[in-house]
Symmetry: C2
Subunit: 597 residues, 2 copies
């Protein structure tokens, strides 16, 4: 956890760290009460101005907060939850070895007591007092503006009432399990900034628990708004506990994966009882949203038979196998109301999974896909009626001309519930570059109204993403999300572009780097061609060299016409440029031909 590169006024001693990235600083914007302090990334420009950016990196980038992965983050929302008075602590479900993927008969032993594994497990689980909804949706409907709503209002620069109205209408969700008080409130809806999810997941051999926590903080450090923990196999419960206790962003899961582990991977042995037990286990831990593939109906399964790539969703294929084996509708569908009542007891948000999403260009927008979508529309209405926050998952592989139909149909069928899409990938031909094939589709569907984009890494279809892949995936999707914010005309979104373009036009290289989505790589690429310090303030860059710099010539035009002065002579311009060029030559750099040859 060494990602502290910030400095705050309260902590001048953070200067040493700040030295490393002089332009990045953790800041906070206050709300109506002292315990609402919304984190931001402040970029101090060399021209004395400040630019304020959205920040998902949590306390890790605040040098005044001493984080410790073994202690977990401070429970930011705890008092808000307690003071509502509608929840209670209780003993909770007993933890069992199989929660960690360990068989009863395993000779190796295993988890006996979680406290031994996560020291300082901070609290007992909490749930609603009685059979009521303790959800942000329920609060919004009865007209309450919760601290969580005010927090996201500050974050998004809108009014708290607007947030409440969007949640009340089911157009936005604020995933915030009462058992994840460490999370910083964040809202997902088409009338807010487009969000990005990053998936992480262990691999039994290659990943340690610390590595999974590190992947989560790394993803949120680069801008992931939520993280899905898709771990399987051994230590699944313990990994999730560590991730949750240390996560400043909402955490999503697919409970079906863990339930399948509990029945030894035999899809047909899954049951409502095993599934419900797993959901309860994860609700008590603090999972904020859960993917539920309840729309895979028995009659839809044959619709996939003549597809190019059948069913590509793991959850979808598990449920399809179950339906076929039992020849009846799945327990997710038949017990959906009961599931709603569990989720609302903890304020867990539904992410209704698209188990029949297309896995190839050929299968996009087919009968199976849209049949399931209509069922998700049905389930969305049921969940909303029972006070459960709900979003809807979307594809997948879709060529550009078929993307808009997806979001339009989803918005119509699901009454504008937030759409949460994987990509979509706009072609199948580029394994190893599917962050790009899908980043194209993600930007477009974000523009047209998708609320959250699930990232795709370069390893998609090929293997498990490593740390670099996670970063590349998140950066690519932040680009897509921001491009969508611009296209939607989201208020203030363009300020970031404008600040960077101003810096570019004024040759403030350090400001360009610090304002970049990825300052490290931008600086590294620049320095690879012009490594010396003078090059960073020089009035030209490495592509054009001193003679050809269009920005330079162009600035002289701005100075002439912008300021209404008489024409600067070309000689004057050239003299100024010659001076700059000499400066560069004197610094010992001869990357380009000097002017006098």
């Amino acid at each position: 956890m060494t990602m502290q590169d910030a400095r705050t006024p309260e902590n001048p001693s953070g200067a040493a760290e700040a030295q490393r990235k002089p332009g990045w600083h953790k800041g906070y914007v206050g709300g109506s009460r002292p315990d609402i302090r919304v984190p931001v990334r402040r970029v101090h420009l060399t021209n004395g101005q400040d630019v304020t950016l959205y920040d998902t990196s949590g306390p890790y980038t605040d040098p005044t907060i001493d984080t410790d992965v073994r202690r977990g983050l401070p429970p930011l929302r705890e008092n808000w939850i307690i003071s509502r008075g509608d929840t209670e602590e209780y003993a909770g479900r007993e933890l069992r070895p199989e929660d960690d993927g360990i068989k009863h008969t395993s000779p190796r032993g295993g988890l006996k007591n979680l406290d031994a594994v996560f020291p300082g497990r901070p609290r007992q689980p909490r749930r609603a007092r009685g059979d009521v909804a303790v959800t942000q949706l329920a609060y919004a409907r009865r007209g309450d503006v919760t601290p969580e709503m005010e927090y996201v209002a500050v974050r998004e620069n809108v009014s708290p009432e607007f947030v409440r109205d969007e949640i009340a209408a089911g157009r936005a969700v604020l995933p915030a399990n009462v058992n994840h008080p460490e999370s910083e409130p964040m809202i997902i809806g088409k009338n807010f900034l487009v969000k990005v999810n990053a998936n992480i997941g262990n691999s039994a051999v290659t990943s340690s628990i610390e590595e999974e926590v590190e992947k989560m903080t790394w993803a949120s450090r680069w801008g992931a708004d939520t993280v899905m923990d898709l771990s399987t196999g051994r230590n699944i419960h313990t990994t999730r506990e560590w991730v949750l206790r240390n996560s400043p962003v909402p955490i999503g899961t697919v409970p079906l994966y863990q339930a399948l582990e509990k029945v030894d991977g035999k899809a047909e042995e899954l049951s409502w009882e095993v599934y419900k037990d797993t959901v309860l286990e994860q609700c008590e831990q603090g999972v904020d949203y859960m993917t539920v593939h309840a729309g895979v109906l028995l009659r839809y399964v044959p619709l996939t038979a003549r597809r190019k790539t059948g069913i590509v969703s793991r959850g979808g294929s598990i449920m399809a196998a179950w339906c076929l084996a039992h020849h009846q509708e799945s327990f997710l569908y038949t017990h959906f109301e009961e599931l709603c009542d569990i989720l609302r007891t903890y304020d867990v948000t539904f992410s209704l999974g698209d188990g029949l999403r297309p896995g190839s260009i050929a299968d996009a927008n087919d009968e199976a896909q849209f049949a399931e979508l209509r069922t998700l529309g049905e389930l969305n209405r049921i969940a909303k009626a029972r006070g459960v926050q709900t979003m809807i998952e979307g594809p997948g592989h879709v060529p550009m001309h078929k993307i808009k139909e997806n979001i339009d149909l989803q918005q119509e069928i699901c009454e504008e519930a937030p759409f949460y899409t994987l990509g979509p990938l706009t072609t199948d031909i580029a394994p190893a570059y599917d962050h790009i094939t899908s980043g194209i589709g993600a930007a477009m569907i974000g523009w047209w109204g998708t609320a959250m984009l699930c990232y795709v890494t370069p390893k998609e279809h090929l293997g498990l993403p490593d740390r670099d892949d996670v970063k590349t995936g998140v950066i690519t999707y932040k680009i897509a999300a921001h491009a969508a914010d611009l296209a939607k005309g989201h208020p203030g979104a363009q300020d970031w572009d404008d600040a960077l373009s101003d810096a570019r036009f004024e040759f403030r290289w350090e400001d360009q780097f610090n304002l970049a989505l990825d300052p490290d790589t931008a600086r590294e690429f620049h320095d690879a061609t012009l490594p010396a310090e003078p090059a960073k303030t020089a009035h030209f860059c490495s592509m054009c060299g001193p003679k050809f710099c269009s920005m330079r010539i162009s600035r002289s035009i701005t100075e002439q016409f912008g300021a209404g002065e008489s024409l600067t002579s070309e000689d004057e311009i050239r003299d100024g440029m010659l001076a700059k060029s000499r400066e560069f030559a004197e610094s010992g750099n001869r990357v380009y031909l000097p002017l006098a040859d």
Copy 2:
């Protein structure tokens, strides 16, 4: 030049090479005459089928052709050009030291005679006999189908008459200078496959001539349809000669850059005489298309003064400086008709440059940009009337919601002349990732009718691209172009996606790699997680492991319903899967938990 990884029936001894990439083979499709042989990339699948893909890599990937960078490529089109009988050889312009950026007064000496620099310079320059147009446009208009047109018809799987009609209407160009007979004919127009251009350019210190040639072959190896040589400074003429003599793809330039070198970088000292001399020099060498910023009018320059980033086009800013210094319209505009008459003498295609393109999101679609576009429309009509093939360049930095207006307006104003755009970049905030910010815009504008996309590399705005950057740029833009082909419903485009998706669904890993845009990286990423050979034939992949493989479960559904058989029992499916899993475990791999624990 060691890029030979092909094997043809004529060359069984190519087997050793083929071993390295067993699925890639150079092939040819014949035309109506023996000298029309259109290269293709054949992928032999493990199921015995063949997939045929477009191929721009030239003779370098044909092991039966012995290429030698010092001799140049065989002059494929020479007989076609000669047999038309409308051109003649002539002595050509005398070569001068300043052609290579060397001053008369330079104490270091320099180029005296090009033959000494490029051994075996194969021929005298060729031009039209008399003042006529020897352009593909002129031939198309009089109803001729040239061998070049038939060649691209085979390449694009359309009729030669369709090619002729598109060229005659000015909706497509076939850049093919009579002095570049080495080039393989290639067509650019909205009713053909979307094309990709890669820029290369020397840096006086870091690049050698061989490196520039290597960059060109490297770019075309990964799919660049044209290459622009943007070299500046010393050896500019010689570099271009080597690139042209070795290039199987059309070569574009910006003659203004070289002209500026000839007047020591002093924009105001440029003149029609210096420019014309440079254009002639490049026409005689064989440049296929030239960017000409003739639309930058004096009265447009002040329109850029209040922009966020002024003028960002190098050519645009040079001409703006010239206009301001002289306070008159540029020689490119005032001598445009004369320029047309030069270009048609060699069949050089115009690429009318957008010197006032927006360099930031804030400046997109502004008055300056569209004023220039209207002038380009004027110039397009003049060029067409004089028989010169013409395409129009486009931006730049444009947010997604403003992209469509660009192509719609260009198509209207320029009578459907091919649009050739740089990106556009859909946000300014991600230096080091502008291949992605622009790949998004490129895919969209390609879908809506842009004929060629100029690539952007990760180094855009930061430095000069190296070999890896060139590859990343080309691959990203091939993705954008192919996504656009799919969205346009280009006949046959989806066959590639379908072949890859079939391979994916059937767990033919080697076929997936060989069908990928970049087989090397796809294979490397896969092997990083599952390196052993059995994993490549295993019926699951590294993301899901044996238990969760959705493709596997899904295949059993296909087998049941697709073939109309009675239900395979889940036990049978599981048995088959267990067998696969054991196979994997026996191979010594334990990347995932084996089923029995």
